[in-house]
């Protein structure tokens, strides 16, 4: 509750007419943005805790090691998502998708991933159709999610690739702090970026 109060107070401050209409000075706008960010992070931590607790209650609660640590990624609109980086080392990444509306939603989900070859498994329907788009050296995973009202669904992203890239189809891949430059049908060189 204390974490949620942070966001509630920030939203109270942001009801000022300057915040609503954008007629504040820049340093005030920056202050609003910082407060909202702090409140947002606190609320997301609360959701992480709640969902993690629910998973433990519904799943294997016999050992502490089975309790998953849930995290929100605030960088999903960026080219690289730290939360999906473990895919590049072969670790599966379960994704829990929360629906804050009061009706069932069948909507696409877009998540940046570090590799091109993955499968998506639904907790109820097994392997489902997914699509990976490459845009400016970034891979964006798309799949259709079905989420109950005010609830969540679980999907697991699993790497299906061995530890090589196909240079003909992937001209340039940014991997962490290196760029692999390819051409002529084979990987030419690895340079720092």
């Amino acid at each position: 509750v204390d974490d949620i109060v942070i966001m509630r107070e920030v939203m109270g401050i942001a009801q000022h007419h300057d915040a609503v209409s954008g007629t504040e000075q820049q340093h005030v706008a920056d202050d609003y943005a910082e407060r909202l960010s702090i409140g947002n992070c606190a609320s997301l931590e609360t959701i992480n805790t709640v969902v993690g607790t629910l998973l433990t209650a519904n799943g294997n609660s016999k050992s502490a090691a089975a309790t998953p640590t849930i995290s929100f990624c605030p960088l999903l609109n960026q080219s690289i998502c730290p939360a999906t980086d473990p895919l590049s080392s072969g670790t599966s990444v379960p994704v829990l998708i929360y629906n804050s509306l009061s009706w069932t939603r069948n909507e696409p989900v877009r998540i940046p991933i570090p590799i091109a070859n993955v499968t998506v498994t639904s907790s109820s329907n097994g392997s489902i159709t997914s699509q990976v788009n490459q845009i400016n050296g970034t891979f964006i995973l798309e799949f259709l999610a079905t989420i109950p009202p005010l609830g969540y669904s679980t999907y697991i992203i699993t790497s299906t690739a061995s530890d090589f890239v196909e240079p003909n189809s992937i001209p340039a891949i940014i991997i962490q702090d290196e760029i692999i430059v390819s051409g002529g049908g084979k990987i030419n060189e690895k340079v720092s970026y």
Binding site: S21, Q26, I47, T84, V93, V95, R105, S130
Partner: protein, 282 residues
């Protein structure tokens, strides 16, 4: 020379093969097609003139001229992605100007993602950028935008319902707020073109069949209404909108509110890791 087509079970959208611009939308359920064009334009914000020292700024939208300039005359590079989940057309002018039309396999609307900014002011001129959609709908100078995502307000060009309006600003005087939904209707053909937006902005319909959506503003003078600073927005905006072309019906009216709420309440993904197989983890 054939147009690029994005299509699913609900709609068919045609794009120019020359520059990737949108040409038409067909609602496959009703079988009706409307020509449509989209352009980015910018108004020159006033810094005061002989008539008035009033500048365009945070409170005041006051363009110098009644007309707008094309925001980008260059032909963009166009890339197309086709897949089972979505198909998309990406129009790339520069890192400051990218437009992506995306059609999901299960959607009855076309999604458009726009990246705009920072706005170039190296010429010493501020710019107020608008996305303008022009359709063939006959709209009788009328359009609609929402109040707080709930009640739709009827808007009529150069008209106010509660007083006799003297038009002094034919462009900005017709800009009104939109929080989630704006649309135009052709009652004779029973057709409607709806734009669902993910943020509050200004909108207008200055000509029949047109719908203008304010995208980004960067003005270089304070408008003298209390802020004490010019609205020199130096940021980049990434915005997502939904374009829906449908008939005028009660079903359609009840349909775009979930679309608006879907944009304002996006799905929230949370992550963890596991070495277990998907079956074991489930």
């Amino acid at each position: 020379n054939d147009p690029i087509i994005l299509e699913n079970d609900y709609i068919n959208v045609q794009f120019s093969s020359q520059d990737g611009s949108i040409l038409s939308i067909t609602n496959k359920t009703s079988g009706v097609t409307s020509s449509i064009t989209q352009e980015y334009i910018w108004y020159n914000p006033s810094v005061g003139n002989d008539d008035s020292a009033q500048c365009s700024g945070a409170y005041i939208f006051r363009p110098v001229e009644d007309f707008a300039y094309p925001y980008n005359n260059a032909t963009p590079s166009v890339s197309i992605i086709r897949g089972e989940i979505s198909s998309s057309i990406r129009r790339f002018w520069s890192n400051e100007m990218v437009q992506t039309f995306r059609l999901y396999s299960n959607a009855d609307h076309l999604e458009v993602e726009e990246i705009i900014g920072p706005i170039d002011i190296s010429d010493g001129i501020g710019k107020e950028i608008v996305s303008r959609y022009t359709t063939t709908l006959v709209t009788d100078q009328t359009w609609y935008s929402d109040s707080q995502g709930m009640e739709m307000q009827k808007r009529i060009t150069n008209y106010r319902p509660s007083w006799n309006l003297t038009v002094v600003q034919p462009t900005s005087g017709n800009y009104v707020p939109v929080n989630a939904i704006a649309y135009i209707q052709d009652p004779n053909q029973s057709l409607q073109f709806t734009i669902v937006t993910d943020r509050s902005r200004g909108c207008a319909s200055l000509r029949d069949g047109q719908l203008d959506m304010m995208m980004h503003r960067r003005t270089l003078k304070d408008d003298g209404r209390g802020v004490g600073q010019p609205m020199n927005e130096s940021t980049q905006i990434v915005t997502t909108s939904k374009l829906i072309f449908h008939d005028i019906s009660s079903y359609a009216q009840s349909h775009y509110r979930p679309a608006a709420l879907s944009l304002s309440h996006p799905l929230l993904p949370m992550f963890t890791t596991t070495q277990q197989s998907s079956n074991d983890w489930n």
